[in-house]
């Protein structure tokens, strides 16, 4: 799925967090959104997911204004682990089967197997490690067979082994033509997968650069 962002400006108060951001992604592109804390990475994710109100004609998925889309059928979303803080018990099985609004089928079972969730399938989600929880979130994000996958700081508070596993999953999705937007402060995590970087700085400015300009991205931030 193509993504086009045209002159996106967003402000919570009077000072804009994002200023006139524009970029285009083709189907299957991998975009890493990088920048220090407070530069607007999460805000951009919120805009793309329509969690906050965005002006008309600023964000398009396959040439359709997201404000004209009632449902995001083909968008998968992996939240930050910190956003999920509950004490109410729910097993991985319950969590995923509820998120899968259809009846369980072969696709559902295949996804559970592919992400190696069987050993923790009956576990209470609140007892999982950061890496295990991340795999559950990824499984959930893939339930509606997304053509766009948006991940918000997925490497925060997960161990190295899980980071490597996440990298492999993203590599697979990337090779399957899924458009991926990854917000991260870890520049090296997806260095070999990234097609473009969107580098945000503290002044609200940005640069949209191809992978070959990696050194410039580091310098810019």
């Amino acid at each position: 799925m193509r993504i086009s962002v045209n002159n996106l400006t967003f402000a919570y108060t009077q000072r804009p967090v994002l200023k006139n951001i524009s970029f285009n992604l083709s189907s299957g592109n991998f975009l890493s959104v990088v920048g220090k804390n407070g530069t607007g990475k999460s805000t951009l994710i919120k805009c793309l997911l329509k969690i906050v109100a965005v002006p008309n004609n600023t964000i398009f998925f396959d040439d359709i204004d997201i404000n004209a889309m009632k449902r995001f059928y083909h968008v998968g979303y992996v939240p930050q682990k910190l956003d999920f803080a509950y004490e109410f018990p729910i097993t991985v099985s319950e969590f995923l089967s509820c998120a899968y609004l259809k009846r369980k089928d072969a696709f559902f079972t295949a996804l559970i197997n592919a992400l190696d969730l069987n050993p923790i399938y009956r576990e209470n989600i609140n007892n999982l490690s950061g890496g295990q929880l991340q795999r559950v979130f990824i499984a959930r994000s893939l339930l509606n067979k997304p053509k766009i996958l948006i991940l918000d700081e997925p490497t925060v508070s997960i161990d190295n082994e899980s980071v490597a596993a996440l990298h492999n999953i993203l590599k697979d999705l990337h090779s399957n033509n899924v458009t991926i937007i990854l917000s991260t402060h870890d520049f090296d995590f997806a260095k070999n997968l990234t097609d473009y970087y969107l580098a945000l700085n503290e002044k609200g400015e940005y640069q949209f650069l191809p992978r070959k300009d990696y050194d410039n991205v580091i310098e810019y931030i």
Binding site: L49, E94, F95
Partner: protein
């Protein structure tokens, strides 16, 4: 001794109605309460019950002036639903102290209640005590039918929207992007909560509604391992508390709402104790294992 209570249930219609109403409410309360707890709305339940009280009292006031075609409880329902929207509106005035809106609505509800009780002629102390602490023995056939109808509606609603409700409760963003009509579902949940509060006023009274909705869930989440298991355990606790409350209230002539709430709290404290013991045993075992290694 138990025979007497069974005899009373069989022989006296008022007692039978009260018993059936209590059992039905005991089953549906944890279902509603779990959604309230997950969505962190526990304080809203308290706020709405106080605001609903104002509605009932104003309903009584109006019924003394003109012949109202409906029970004052319906005014409570209207106030309860209106209260949720007022809380939301007032929240927008504060950036960092959003919970102030609930304190404001509680104050408004209590002051309106006090005001209208004082200017309404013929309001007895037992009536106001009933509103505050419940008067389940006054549950008539119409009330019982209303409670049964409400319970069946809840079951149908949950049956149809179980997956959507759970998804919304645990992750609103995901619910939104996966195509769930979040606003409509939230509105339905709010209306159900408001209806539950207004209906439960008769059973346990304004001050103890939270005990019925929240405490069985607060107990079961400490020991539950799955969502379904936690809900079932909460229903068991709720029913046990109601049966205990009924028995104690019957023999010691104590207010039913209070005895049910006390039974719920008693169970919660036992669970606190069990969890504490379990945790300290686990810690001791861990230290022992570390020393051995």
């Amino acid at each position: 001794m138990l025979l007497n209570i069974f005899k009373a249930i069989i022989e006296f219609e008022a007692f039978r109605n009260a018993f059936v109403a209590a059992i039905v409410i005991g089953i549906i309360s944890p279902l509603i309460g779990s959604v309230v707890v997950i969505r962190r709305l526990s304080n809203i339940a308290d706020t709405l019950s106080h605001f609903s009280l104002a509605g009932v009292v104003i309903g009584v006031f109006i019924s003394k002036l003109i012949n109202l075609p409906f029970s004052p409880i319906f005014m409570g329902i209207i106030f309860s639903i209106g209260g949720t929207f007022l809380v939301e509106k007032i929240r927008n005035f504060y950036k960092n102290y959003k919970e102030l809106s609930m304190a404001i609505i509680i104050s408004l509800g209590v002051s309106l209640s006090g005001l209208f009780i004082s200017i309404t002629t013929g309001v007895t102390t037992s009536y106001t005590t009933g509103l505050l602490f419940g008067s389940i023995l006054s549950v008539g056939k119409t009330d019982l039918i209303l409670i049964l109808f409400f319970a069946i509606s809840i079951f149908i609603f949950i049956g149809f929207y179980y997956k959507q409700i759970i998804t919304l409760c645990f992750d609103e963003t995901y619910a939104r992007i996966s195509g769930i009509s979040v606003k409509a579902l939230q509105l339905l949940i709010t209306i159900i909560l408001a209806l539950a509060i207004s209906i439960f006023i008769e059973l346990v009274g304004v001050l103890l509604i939270s005990a019925l909705l929240i405490i069985p869930v607060a107990s079961s989440i400490l020991v539950g391992k799955s969502f379904k298991g936690t809900i079932i355990f909460a229903i068991i606790i709720s029913l046990l508390s109601i049966l205990c409350g009924f028995t104690v209230s019957f023999y010691l002539k104590l207010p039913l709402g209070s005895t049910i709430a006390m039974a719920n709290i008693f169970v919660l404290f036992i669970i606190f104790l069990i969890v504490k013991l379990k945790n300290s045993r686990y810690k001791k075992k861990k230290i022992k294992d570390e020393i051995t290694v």
